[in-house]
Structures are given as C-alpha cells and as structure tokens.
Symmetry: C2
C-alpha cells in the first residue's frame, strides 16, 4: 500500500522499501553535529543487514563517530529531467568496528564489497545501526505546474 | 592549475570552480544542528551571485534557519560507473528573505527559476550567504586497485 500525502504529492516509504532503495546506491552523505555545528561528508557505503557500513580515515568523521553522538545518513536518487526522486534518511548512532567487536560482525564487514573511491588510506570501519529509517518519494511534475 | 593531493588522488577545487559546478545541479542537501543533533534535508536550489537560494515550508528547516545558526549545504555529482565525482560544500549562515530585505534582493530572488519538486506549499525563501565554499573531485579507479 502506498502512503501518499494528497496535499504534497509526496509518498512516504516503508522501512522495507527504504532498505531496498539503500541497497541500490553506493554513495550517501553523513551529517554530524560537531560542537553544535553541522558537518556533512559524502561517503561510500554498503548495507549490512539493517545497518550501513563505511570506511574512513582519522579525522572529523571518525571523531564524531567515536564520541558516540547521533548521526544522520542520507541517500537519494534523483531524476532531474523527470523532476522525481526519492530520499532515505537514517537517524542513528555510529560506532567503529574494532577487534573488540563480535567476530561474526567483523568477518561479515570484511567480506562486504566496500571500496572507497579515493585512494586515501581509510583503515577505520564504521557502522550505523539501530537507526530510525524514513524515506520519501516525489513524483515529477512539469515546471509549468509550479 | 589543479591542486591534486598525490597521496589521495583527490583534487581540491577552487572557489570559482565550486560555484561553476553548483550552477550545474539543482538539488543539494542542507545540514543543520538542532539542539546538538544533526539533521539533513534534500532541497531544490538555485545559485544567486555567490549565494544559494531555496524554498521551504514552515518546519525544522525554517526554524534552524531563522535561529541564525550555521548551516552546511552539500551538492555532488557522481558517476558510479567511472567511480568518479565531485562534491562542493558551503559552510555559512542562512536567513529568510523577507519584506525587510533589500528590494533588489527580493526582486532577483523572485526572478530565479526556483521550482520545488514537491507540490507542498513552500512560501519561505531562504538564502545561504557569506559561505565558505570548498570542493573536491575524485577521479575513478578500478575496483581491482582498491
């Protein structure tokens, strides 16, 4: 069943559909609040079960993560010609996967096809989990209707 | 002159190139910190001089903006097949354009081709200005190199 707001034309996506859509992309944007200031980073990711994994080097991303703060992760896919698209947002917490993690988690993470685009060394593996997932789809309309 | 980090293969883009690239897209992501928590919103935008304009309804986006807090705005363009792409990030402040603004600003904003994709009423016009603009371009590499 589709949930469409008749006023806005925006479809509210189910968590299952959100996870399905997440698996179709490979780059998302991680937003964190650092000292009250927002920061945003594009990252390569893969979906692992109901979580999202990405690699990072040392720096703001990792610091924000290891502080245990809230993170927001956004993925979208847009068709600018048709003026339609969807976005999925995860609100959750992130943690670095370390040697102290469950062996199964580490093994599964190691098998994931996670290849950062940049050649920068990114030894830290981070997982966003226990996230609330929400998503919306916007159907196109012509500019004339605006 | 291109500034390429030989270690990472990442090209650092000039502010002029960032603004040029911003003009090639029409959807970006706005990140704000609300009560210490990050939030992220996809928005339709246009570039106005060295600022970015978008429309919004009442809600978190507008509240974050009218509080005068810092915002981050990210735009990217990715070629997943070639594993290359660029991202541009504006760090700045946003304010709503109101009747108290300079008439020229309001007139220029009114002429911009800013058509939100959703049919939701979005009467508030917001401008991000005085922003620090940074950008990066990543060139592709094959998965085998990862």
């Amino acid at each position: 069943m589709k949930l469409i707001d008749p006023k806005t034309g925006i479809e509210v996506l189910s968590p299952e559909e959100c996870l399905r859509l997440l698996r179709t992309q490979e780059v998302g944007r991680l937003a964190v609040a650092v000292g009250g200031f927002p920061a945003i980073f594009p990252v390569n990711y893969v979906v692992d079960d109901d979580g999202v994994l990405f690699r990072t080097g040392a720096g703001t991303k990792l610091e924000a993560v290891t502080r245990g703060g809230s993170v927001v992760f956004e993925v979208d896919h847009l068709d600018t010609a048709a003026r339609s698209g969807w976005s999925v947002i995860l609100n959750g917490r992130a943690h670095e996967i370390t040697k102290y993690d469950n062996a199964a988690v580490r093994q599964r993470a190691g098998r994931l096809a996670l290849y950062p685009w940049s050649q920068h060394d990114k030894p830290h593996l981070v997982r966003i989990s226990d996230a609330t997932v929400t998503g919306r789809r916007v159907r196109g309309r012509s500019v004339a209707e605006s």
